[in-house]
Amino acid sequence: MRFRAGIESVDTFYKIIQAVEKLQKRCVIKFTETDLHIICANDVNEGGIQVWSQIKIPSLFNDLRIQSNANNQISMLLSPEALLSALRSAANPSTASTSNAVLHQVEAVMRLAKKNDQAVLSFEINGLSRNAGRYVRVNHDVRIEIMKPQDVQRLSEPMCPEPDVHVLLPQLTKLRAVVERLRSLSDTVAIRANRSGRLEFSVRTDSVSTDVAWTGLSNPTMAKEGGSQEPSQISQPHDPEEMFGVLISVKSFLQFLNSHVVSTTTIACICQNHCMILYVYIGEVADAGGVLTYYIPAMVDDTS
């Protein structure tokens, strides 16, 4: 089993890990010759949010060498938090070009290694120190656990019916400001959308009933495959004003909103009273370097 890759877009890689970091203590990372998959699918987290992401190797890495007996795929369990701190030495995640990163002109390479009988993902980061302009080399080892191919196969993406509505979400940072307020009012939020570009977030409690509505959003047609879904052609005529809703945990939705650091375009799909699926595109949709797919299941629903 051999694995080595140069990390070309450290910042993007850092942001992607940041987007999933808060979800689970450990997540599954699977490398193939063409894609990187990040999977957070434990049932233990509250609200039941799952992430299945698929990122094209060239959009993050260069010079990938991968060899294994399992079809040249390598899957590992690791702590996203540890991975994040390893990348932090090389990343310069602030969007402003005037950075305060420790290193610049960074070259980062990660490889699979074994140290003291422990499998690790070893990061070697070379760069010039910001202050002195000296050459600096940083090594980080992130403990991992190689997964058996049969365990990997047991992981399966949740099955969802064809979504009732697709809607392009407003800027996630703005959305987050609203959802954070909603969280202080209630633990659950009803999210509704229709095919005329309307999106509503509603909270009902004894002391307050709140609806926040966006209008004029676009309803993309998901003709081609996005994530794992069946191609969904919107063929049958529907009332474009009809609202489709799902009741979910506010906390789960906020976990999804952590992806605002990496998102450019996010499409939300609602399967009425079943689940919400969120596609966070990395890079422009046209040549998306990858997509993070969040599944948030419906909570037991007796209102809508």
């Binding site: 407003p170 307020r181 004894d206 002391s207 307050v208 009933s209 709140t210 926040v212 509505a213």
Partner: protein, 373 residues
């Protein structure tokens, strides 16, 4: 826009006018006033021709009141519930008579109301620079403060270099009410007893709109702490920033704060060595703080104190005023013969409107601790 399935629109369809319908194009000032009294969860709201009065209380000792005049709204229509057939009556400019019978009142969960006002994240406090400020000036030392406190700003400085303070104060207000940035408009309406308070909040541009219906409750009888102006023992007007800094520097562990007022020094004495006109004293487990305000017009704009007075108040109660002080520019501090403390904080209106005195204010009244030394 009201949702078609809500109760409110049903009411609107009928011809009964709402008890209250008000609109403001920028919600931040309204939110800042409410935040000033938000030390308790529940608040009583009284609606009158001249505006809204929002009161909160704690431990039957501390009463916070925000006077929100109708002028701060761009539109304000009040229809007394008993006289709904004569809505034009309430519009008359002569609203001097405050007839209790004509007021509508309800109790409401103030923290929910504030969350709703800030639902789009646009009405929140911008306290970042305040926080660092407070931290920098926090009282660190042990032992007796000597009242001189020369490295501290504000009250204790005798040669009053107030200019930087003023600049800081203005910058802070600009953050609250600054012209730039997007404004969030709000329509407030209340259909009458038993109906929720409805807020419609929208950003100027094609941003989101929020509709909030907040449950109202029948008004509970509220604490009344009448201040007898005839019996005023101490009356002081000073810049709010100087009181705010003093409060933030009080020894955190102290239980009570003593306010001492002294009469003016006899004629002919040099002001530099005069006794302080106002002193805040706090004794805690790990040290004590004493803060003196000298007899200087730059510091105390007005100070009436015929006889020396000294009353103590619960420290935690005084600290409740901190939020109102953040937005306030000027404070009137009064104490009557019984020790009842009245703090009135002038909350500068975002824009001066010709012919209108739109500056709202927040008042705190606090009873003195008994058995004072």
């Amino acid at each position: 826009m009201p949702r078609s399935d809500s109760d409110v629109s049903d009411v609107q369809e009928q011809d009964v006018p709402h008890v209250l319908s008000a609109y403001v194009h920028d919600v931040r000032y309204f939110a800042a006033l409410l935040r000033g009294v938000s030390f308790a969860k529940m608040a009583s709201v009284t609606i009158m021709d001249s505006g809204l009065i929002v009161t909160t209380e704690e431990a039957r000792t501390l009463l916070g009141t925000a006077y929100i005049f109708a002028d701060i709204f761009d539109e304000y229509t009040y229809n007394p519930p008993s006289q709904q057939q004569l809505p034009s009556q309430s519009q008359s400019a002569d609203s001097e008579r405050e007839n209790e019978e004509l007021n509508a009142a309800f109790d409401i969960n103030l923290s929910v109301l504030l969350e709703c006002l800030n639902i789009l994240g646009t009405a929140g406090p911008t306290t970042t620079n305040l926080k660092t400020n407070d931290k920098a000036h926090r009282f660190h030392g042990l032992g007796q403060g000597d009242g001189g406190n020369d490295n501290e700003p504000g009250p204790s400085k005798r040669n009053g270099r107030k200019d930087d303070k003023d600049v800081a104060g203005n910058a802070r207000l600009d953050q609250y009410f600054g012209g730039g940035g997007k404004k969030t408009g709000m329509r407030l309406s209340y259909a009458g007893a038993g109906y929720p308070l409805t807020l419609l909040i929208a950003e100027e541009a094609d941003g989101p709109t929020a509709t909030c219906e907040i449950t109202t409750f029948d008004p509970e009888p509220r604490l009344e702490l009448p201040f007898d102006a005839e019996q005023t023992a101490l009356r002081i007007i000073l810049k709010s920033s100087w009181l705010r800094d003093a409060l933030s520097e009080l020894e955190p562990s102290c239980e009570k704060v003593t306010i001492v007022g002294n009469p003016p020094p006899p004629e002919g004495r040099v002001p530099r060595t005069s006794t302080p006109r106002l002193r805040l004293k706090a004794v805690g487990n790990w040290g004590s703080t004493e803060m003196d305000y000298p007899n200087d017009r730059e510091v105390l704009e007005a100070c009436d104190c015929p006889v020396a007075v000294s009353f103590s108040y619960k420290h935690s109660h005084l600290q409740k005023a901190a939020r109102a002080l953040q937005t306030s520019t000027k404070t009137s501090l009064r104490i009557d013969q019984d020790g009842l403390l009245s703090l009135q904080f002038l909350m500068p209106s975002p824009r001066a409107r010709p012919g209108k005195s739109a500056n709202a204010f927040v008042e705190f009244r606090c009873m003195a601790l008994e058995g004072d030394d």
